[in-house]
Subunit: 285 residues, 2 copies
């Protein structure tokens, strides 16, 4: 491995945290998976087991043997000090609540050794929003993964002005070493690359439907046939979910707030939340 | 065929006009292809021959026999009156110049029989921009095709408030009969469906590069891996061409005009026009 990072700690074993931890372990890194209590660790253990089974089914080269070995490389703990005592890299994937992240970084700053790099998987916070709590501006950046990490294997790497370029490069190498395609952001950008592309695209699709210009099926047909993509914007909205759509749009400009209100009235209030509820722009039965 | 449209006239045998005429003939419609002089018709004949060869290679079910039959169903003429004398549908695909279109529709209005439906393939003009010159508001609408019609087989159907719904439905059926997926616009919309999705998406990709946030390869990797699409925005820009990008962006809002200036300075003025010049966001050798 080209990276000097060896001991990895993932904080937070929710959907994405568990995927990150398992993927790193699958790629032969010793991984400590931290969560706040035993219930969370039981849930995490279940996630890891299901990921192992999923890899055997869906990932080229994965089998009972090497996924079992990945599980064996995972250490689960609720002891934060122990979890980070010898960590080269801590990947923070805790809930997206600013106060919680602040508090967590303040704790980490005290107990992690000086060598430890902190990387936040935050979707909505920039490194600048968190850096003052980390106690190590030069060794802090964001490292953002996509859901279904084994399939959508991008890792968006975003520093802030004081991130040490060597640390940045080290994390890029680490991302590569765990099978990711590193996406290098040269500056801070809300939404990174993926959401910077996805949000205007999805918004445009919603505007066509909300404005009464065209039906979801025609909007999606146009995109699929015109660009060869597997899915159009309304199909993607149904996967993302209408509640997430509402959250994004209700924080936007005036047009977006109108779309949020439209989404609430016509979908969310009627229980049409997308794929998760069985109906959104499409019906799923 | 469910459509009552039988005799089709295509006005203008440029790249797209020729594709529309050939596709309709391939789907067994007798097609009159009109252009302004013999040189244009010679060029058109060449286009039709190349399309026939292309279909044999690239279209399932196409062979020497049925593409030859398609060519035999095409009548080329420079006589506009003869071209439209018994037309059920005239598809107008002349250059995108408002004055030229106005003049053409005024001529057509006089010489075409009352039964003839007029459909404009205009990319940038709405039916409302042209309707007053047609002499038949109820029998006028836009029917917009995509380049490489045999592959990108959408036909966007867009009326104006006075288009007869029966005429609209008739044209939708015709689109289906020539192998298109009809995309029904319920109202006028600049950019139809495809460009309403494509322009904000392509703009977002260009912003990431122009703003120095990420490199074209990383922007495109993110989109391809994240969504499963075959191409990212920078790859599409290179196909669309930087000059077209400049034209779109220079008519936009303040941010878009800045992007146009950036595109001019960094690409167009350096001869990097995209795929057509061998270099754009990528080099093609």
């Amino acid at each position: 491995m080209a990276t000097e990072i060896r001991n990895v700690t993932v904080m937070g074993c929710g959907v994405l945290g568990a995927q990150i931890a398992f993927q790193a372990a699958y790629k032969r890194f010793p991984v400590t998976a931290y969560d706040i209590n035993n219930d969370a660790l039981v849930a995490a253990r279940g996630r890891f087991e299901r990921l192992a089974a999923n890899y055997v089914k869906n990932v080229d080269g994965a089998d009972e043997h090497n996924t079992r070995a990945a599980l064996d490389r995972l250490t689960l703990t609720t002891d934060l000090a122990a979890a980070v005592a010898d960590a080269d890299l801590v990947i923070e994937a805790i809930p997206e609540i600013l106060a919680l992240k602040q508090e967590t970084y303040q704790k980490l700053a005290d107990i992690a050794p000086a060598k430890t790099i902190f990387a936040s998987n935050s979707s909505t916070l920039l490194p600048s929003d968190l850096v003052t709590y980390t106690g190590r501006p030069d060794r802090f950046l964001n490292l953002h993964f996509a859901n279904m990490i084994w399939l959508h294997n991008t890792a968006e790497v975003m520093g802030h002005p004081d991130t040490d370029p060597k640390v940045y490069a080290e994390v890029v190498e680490f991302a590569r070493a765990i099978g990711m395609v590193p996406i290098e952001l040269h500056k801070e950008k809300a939404g990174y690359v993926l959401n910077s592309l996805l949000v205007p695209f999805l918004r445009a699709g919603m505007e066509l439907v909300a404005g009464g210009y065209a039906d979801p099926g025609d909007v999606d047909n146009t995109w699929r046939i015109g660009t060869g993509a597997p899915a159009g914007p309304c199909q993607i909205w149904d996967v993302v979910g209408m509640r997430t759509g509402y959250n994004i749009m209700s924080h936007g400009d005036e047009e977006e707030r109108k779309l949020a209100a439209w989404l609430k009235e016509n979908y969310i209030d009627k229980g049409k939340l997308g794929l998760e509820s069985g109906e959104g722009f499409y019906k799923y039965v």
